[in-house]
Symmetry: C2
């Protein structure tokens, strides 16, 4: 149906998430009585840790139902500052920490102060699909940097030398990455930061999977390079997706502008979620989160070799997050068609590569291990059966 007035031109450049359509069809199959294995969902299957839930209930009992300041509850900004100090030995003033409605809110604020017509933002392909849309949303130009296993699916300083020009203001990164689960090596990261700094630009680093690492200790860009933007979230590691709560660490000089934006575009994050999140750093909660991290590791340790055994090509074992980005070229010509087949014939839902960019997208699938090992096992065996019949 055509609209009057016509929808704004940006909507032609904002693609849907294919996985959402896939998820809707998977749910419809389930509603019709079929059993579907979900390996498409970028959301932990665990519910929020009990201490956080109880803190939310208590905040409600205490009538904490009014607005907080636009930049967030002072106590939560302090708690995050302490977390950087204690966990990462990194001093971040609470004034630089801005509480947001999810990492999405943080991305809006960052692009609101950085992106505009005539400015470019570089980002890796494959990468989180919304990132390019946030740049577009603010009228800027997203520039995709093709990344592959040779550089841990992360950009390199050589690429910046080639692509960074007078119009470029920022490079977006994610470590661990969605969809690849790979971490940027410290030297590579230092080179990127140094390059950006030398060119009067900044990094916008997504650290929302920071706590979900399986071999190495969690790290933050801010430890060595404090003058960049860092985005984090209570969703993934802390298990608080539905609460819609994240945070942004910004260089101090942007904070006034960010406050004005926050006042205008969302007023403040959910009060209740902010009070509950005060318990996210407690010893009890951190113990539960560590147990869950161990469970995610076990799932990865099951799924990674199992996918290799099915014939997928996965050059690097993912080091974090809960994703495996698998090359399906040895098994199929086109990953979107394979996705369809897996859903229809094997009742396994996975995400096609085209949700993450254009670079070799037709040869990749993303598997999320956000379901238990029994389900993963069932999924793998169903895929095996399906591949045999193709």
């Amino acid at each position: 149906m055509s609209c009057l007035p016509a929808t704004a031109g940006r909507m032609e450049r904002i693609a849907p998430f294919y996985v959402m359509d896939l998820l809707a069809r998977a749910r419809a199959m389930e509603a019709a009585g079929q059993d579907v294995v979900h390996m498409e969902i970028g959301e932990p299957d665990f519910i929020t840790p009990q201490a956080v839930i109880e803190a939310g209930q208590q905040a409600l009992a205490n009538g904490k139902t009014h607005y907080t300041p636009a930049l967030g509850l002072p106590a939560l900004r302090e708690a995050i500052s302490t977390y950087y100090q204690e966990r990462f030995d990194t001093q971040i003033a609470p004034e630089r920490i801005i509480i947001t409605p999810g990492a999405s809110g943080a991305l809006q604020l960052v692009m609101g102060v950085l992106a505009e017509a005539g400015r470019k933002v570089l980002l890796p392909d494959p990468g989180y699909p919304c990132n390019r849309n946030f740049v577009e949303w603010m009228g800027g130009t997203p520039v995709a940097l093709k990344v592959d296993a040779a550089s841990h699916y992360q950009p390199t300083a050589e690429q910046l030398s080639e692509c960074w020009d007078e119009q470029t203001v920022a490079l977006m990164l994610a470590s661990p990455s969605n969809p690849t689960g790979t971490v940027i090596p410290p030297t590579q990261l230092s080179e990127l930061a140094a390059f950006a700094e030398a060119h009067e630009g900044v990094l916008v680093m997504d650290e929302i999977y920071q706590g979900l690492l399986y071999e190495q200790a969690p790290a933050t860009l801010l430890h060595e390079r404090p003058q960049h933007f860092v985005i984090n979230s209570f969703s993934k590691f802390f298990g608080m997706t539905g609460w819609r709560l994240g945070w942004l660490v910004a260089p101090e000089c942007y904070v006034d502008a960010i406050e004005r934006l926050a006042q205008n575009i969302f007023l403040a994050a959910s009060t209740l979620s902010q009070y509950a999140a005060l318990q996210a750093f407690s010893t009890d909660t951190q113990e539960i989160l560590e147990q869950r991290r161990e469970i995610f590791r076990q799932r990865r340790d099951f799924l990674y070799p199992a996918l290799l055994d099915l014939g997928f090509d996965i050059p690097l074992q993912p080091e974090g997050a809960f994703y495996i980005y698998a090359n399906s070229r040895p098994l199929a010509n086109d990953s979107s068609t394979l996705c369809e087949d897996l859903l229809q014939k094997a009742r396994v839902a996975v995400t096609p590569g085209k949700d993450f960019g254009r670079n070799q997208a037709q040869h990749h699938l993303r598997f999320a291990y956000t379901t238990d090992i029994d389900q993963l096992h069932k999924g793998v065996e169903r895929i095996r059966g399906c591949l045999k019949k193709r």
Copy 2:
């Protein structure tokens, strides 16, 4: 401190809320032991009704901590549809109802599909200060229509005839209005809607104070004119500010584009808030809300004559919301200076007219009756004392 890269140009066009600065100073005075009467805050003093709070606690006990679909919990979209049917005798398909993080989220979605460079959006001055910023945010051009008491501080079809051009796509309205509390008469509204329709444009109607009317029955634009955008919220009438939950009713043809935007810019509204809001329409809650409406009416009935008695000029008795927009010209040359004096010398915080636009802004103040009558009485007497000394 200057930033590298420099903040995007839009930040020069997005003004701070003066009231936020004022509020911060009022809080600082309180922290220093002074007693301040708050008549600046656009937030009900009541906490959320008990049945809603309990529903939130129960949702947490049930582990409802995962994402909902981007357009919202189906049960809540159904409940709002039923509310339109039962309260307004208006059929709105749940598919047209989009759950958002506050009315702010709804405004982002509407301007995301309507506004862009080369397009104009008309809006009344005085009006809600963020509206023009949402248009700017999307690259569009906000065009202020000066409104005054003669037209209930609402635009007229004559103004549209003068100002609407080929680039114009929409007219934003609010009824009852913030800051004036005035309602748009049905005939005036019909004329505006007919004009917009005849010019292939739409109305974007803010109905967030819909339930807070003191003489007339609540109404919705959708009853007579279903093919426009309507923004609503659980914040003001329902007393759920801190939960950050609102909704948007959109013409059907925009819903697909809006869904794509919502997926990208905020994923979904808070899950917990959505479950809690299911209780907002219950008989128990509605009874409490009606009692609160009566309390707001009593406050208005106290404050309106009291301000007249102080010498403010208020040509229309406000019919809804919890604001009085008072002309201070008989008492002072400049309302911002008067605001400062009232805070510093009388310890009464009110909002200067310049937060709501440029039209006669220097001659107006907004008084919010979001505090009890004893406080309002104290505030009025302090203002009386202060005015005598000026």
